[in-house]
């Protein structure tokens, strides 16, 4: 197989799981970033591009790992250059951004897949297979939890840039709820924030939690809690899926495949703890790369990514209005909003 040339845009936290996956697949990786490109390249033995144009010129696949608001312009440029694209979630900061990307991708005849990596975490994939196979009957009540130390980069806490915890972090479980229990008809959300312990006056609220309640077309109801907690808080996810003939439960903290009891202690890490199984980021990127090479469509589409953004937008509207917000997937995908 021809060696894949990947153009990576950005150098933030998520690149440290994307780059090893690309290298594992035998790709060469060139990075362009407004900052941190040299350090990342040195760490993994990558090349550095001086501009986005230079990066696009030497890449077959573009991997977008930048802050959310820049996804649209980079994706549109990459599509126009005829590149297939991996784009971190959320695929756009707004549905309008997402649909502009969709238009550009269709126009150029390239593929773009959003990094809804939770679909590739083995526990979630196993639950999906079981639910689709009827193991728990009709899904009725679903709960999802995701939390740990909040992200280190300040832009995550700026709602204009990131969309806040709902758009950036909980979008994983908004997508999971829809993946497992189907389309959504109503969204309700609440959020609470507080300053981190010891934070000075005027510092942004670094402790954030939101709850989102979804009503599904088929009648199921879902609850999603997200937490950006204080530094050092363990990252943990869980789900509970109750159907009319069974219930499934997963808690990442209850995985006992390797239990360490070592007096020297384990260093804090911002990223989810590495499991003993294959990295879900590798599973994800391999599936995307196979699709780019003419293989089967991945388990997540660009449209899925746009709908996840739309659910998050509805949740943000609910935060603003204090009301439950009606939702229609069909409306999201067919409405005539013209991207500006």
């Amino acid at each position: 197989m021809k060696q894949i040339r990947v153009g990576l845009v950005g150098s933030g936290g998520i690149t440290h799981v994307h780059v090893p996956a690309w290298l594992e697949l035998g790709a060469t990786v060139t990075v362009f970033s407004l900052e941190g490109a040299e350090e990342l390249a040195a760490q993994y033995g990558l090349s550095v591009a001086a501009s986005l144009q230079e990066l696009l010129a030497g890449a077959d696949i573009v991997d977008i790992c930048t802050p959310t608001t820049s996804h649209r312009s980079i994706a549109v440029a990459a599509a126009a250059a005829g590149k297939d694209i991996v784009c971190e979630k959320p695929v756009g900061r707004t549905v309008v951004d997402g649909k502009a990307i969709l238009g550009a991708v269709r126009e150029a005849g390239v593929q773009l897949y959003p990094g809804h990596v939770v679909r590739y975490f083995p526990a979630y994939a196993a639950a999906k297979e079981a639910v689709d196979g009827g193991r728990v009957g009709t899904p009725a009540v679903l709960r999802f939890n995701r939390g740990g130390a909040g992200p280190a980069s300040p832009w995550f806490y700026d709602v204009e840039q990131s969309g806040g915890i709902i758009m950036d972090q909980m979008i994983h479980d908004l997508d999971q709820a829809r993946w497992l229990a189907g389309d959504i008809t109503a969204v309700y959300a609440v959020q609470n924030t507080a300053g981190a312990d010891g934070a000075g006056d005027g510092e942004p609220a670094r402790i954030v939690s939101a709850h989102v309640t979804l009503t599904h077309v088929a009648g199921a109801i879902s609850h999603i809690q997200g937490v950006w907690g204080p530094p050092g808080m363990d990252f943990r996810t869980s789900f509970d899926i109750a159907g009319d003939s069974g219930a499934l439960r997963f808690d990442s903290a209850a995985d006992t495949s390797v239990v360490r009891n070592l007096p020297a202690g384990v260093a804090d890490s911002y990223l989810p703890p590495a499991g003993v199984e294959e990295s879900p980021y590798l599973t994800e990127i391999r599936e995307f790369a196979d699709a780019f090479a003419g293989g089967a469509a991945p388990r997540v589409s660009l449209e899925d990514g746009i709908i996840a953004v739309a659910i998050a937008e509805a949740a943000l509207e609910s935060l603003r209005t204090g009301q439950s917000v009606p939702f229609s997937t069909t409306h999201v995908l067919t409405s005539e909003e013209v991207p500006s």
Binding site: A140, T193, A194, D197, S209, V227, S324
Partner: protein, 342 residues
């Protein structure tokens, strides 16, 4: 003007066996040297065939039995424990409070806010103590959490998720009767977590949103909600959600449980008061051998001790009223599709 306590043993009556917790309360009361016990279940005549009620239930649990509530009143109880169908709670509170008996009432305190207020007024007017049966308050796990919160170990509380999932009640048909129970899972399983929130936060609920459905157990023809999610915004901004669904499959080795995860500015603590068990397998499948404190016993002890000491037992009638207000707001939110402001 608390009613005087006669010297010697406290006369305590268990009223109705509609709620099967009556068996546990009888056991704990009968085991006390300082209590004289009488029971009555006159409404059992209207209960469905096959449900062990009335004199037969009392006999099975070795308790003295009276044929009517009037007979209990004539016995002049110092205190009563009400285990009737939900819709009959408030009437019994009023009747026995007026007769000077302190009251421990099964949850929910009533099926309407007006009834609950009447119950509180009746207790206040008679100078008797009213306690609501929220046994989870007495769990060592909750007490540990409460202590940590009070000591500031979690920082400021930001967000709470409570779950109270169990088997659908099936040993008594009234639990799924909209009139007698006042509703389904929202009525049965919101109040325990709501009471913990009430105790922990000490501030009123401001906005309540709820969704529910009837997918679970639909094949059994249930007409009340069997699944529900209630989100509460409290004064001061704390957000909390309670999953009250009857979502424990019948094949599970235990009835269900309650979890309560509190996230603050310093991190989070999750409690699971019914988690302690020895696991394994027997011929039928997974085995579940629970162990740990008997919460009903601790709750009965608080009720009796408080009455003996002339103090107000906790959780009180006020918690019963406030948690019911949350249930009623949740029901109103389900009906309107929008949150309800308190």
């Amino acid at each position: 003007m608390t009613a005087p306590i006669r010297p010697g043993r406290l006369r305590v009556a268990v009223l109705s066996f509609a709620h099967t917790h009556a068996a546990s309360y009888i056991r704990h009361l009968a085991g006390r040297a300082d209590v004289e016990l009488l029971t009555a279940d006159p409404d059992s005549a209207q209960s469905p065939e096959g449900e062990l009620r009335g004199a037969a239930f009392a006999a099975a649990h070795g308790a003295a039995y009276a044929d009517s509530y009037q007979e209990v009143l004539d016995w002049r109880p110092d205190a009563v424990v009400i285990c009737s169908e939900n819709s009959k709670h408030a009437g019994l509170v009023q009747q026995f409070a007026a007769a000077g008996a302190h009251v421990l009432c099964e949850k929910p305190l009533a099926t309407s806010v007006a009834d609950a207020e009447l119950a509180l007024e009746a207790a206040a007017a008679a100078g008797v103590r009213l306690m609501t049966a929220f046994p989870v308050r007495f769990s060592p796990a909750y007490q540990e959490l409460r202590g940590m919160v009070r000591a500031g170990e979690l920082g400021d509380i930001v967000s709470v998720v409570g779950t109270n999932n169990g088997w659908m009640p099936s040993d008594r048909a009234w639990f799924t009767d909209p009139e007698l129970a006042g509703g389904g899972a929202l009525v049965d399983h919101v109040v325990h977590c709501a009471d913990l929130l009430d105790d922990l936060l000490g501030v009123p609920a401001q906005r309540i949103h709820a969704v529910s459905n009837r997918i679970l157990h639909a094949q059994r023809g249930v007409t009340v909600e069997t699944g529900g999610l209630v989100t509460i915004t409290y004064q001061g901004g704390v957000i909390a959600t309670i999953d009250c669904s009857w979502s424990q499959p019948a094949s599970a080795p235990t009835w269900g449980g309650l979890t309560f995860t509190v996230t603050g500015t310093k991190g989070s603590v999750r409690i699971d008061p019914f988690a302690s068990h020895v696991g394994g397998f027997d011929a039928l499948g997974a085995a579940w051998l629970p162990y740990g404190a008997d919460l009903d016993s601790l709750m009965i002890d608080e009720f009796i001790s408080a009455i003996q000491a002339g103090r107000q037992p906790q959780p009180d009638g006020g918690s019963g009223l406030r948690t019911l207000e949350i249930v009623k707001a949740a029901q109103a939110s389900v009906a309107s599709g929008q949150p309800v402001h308190c």
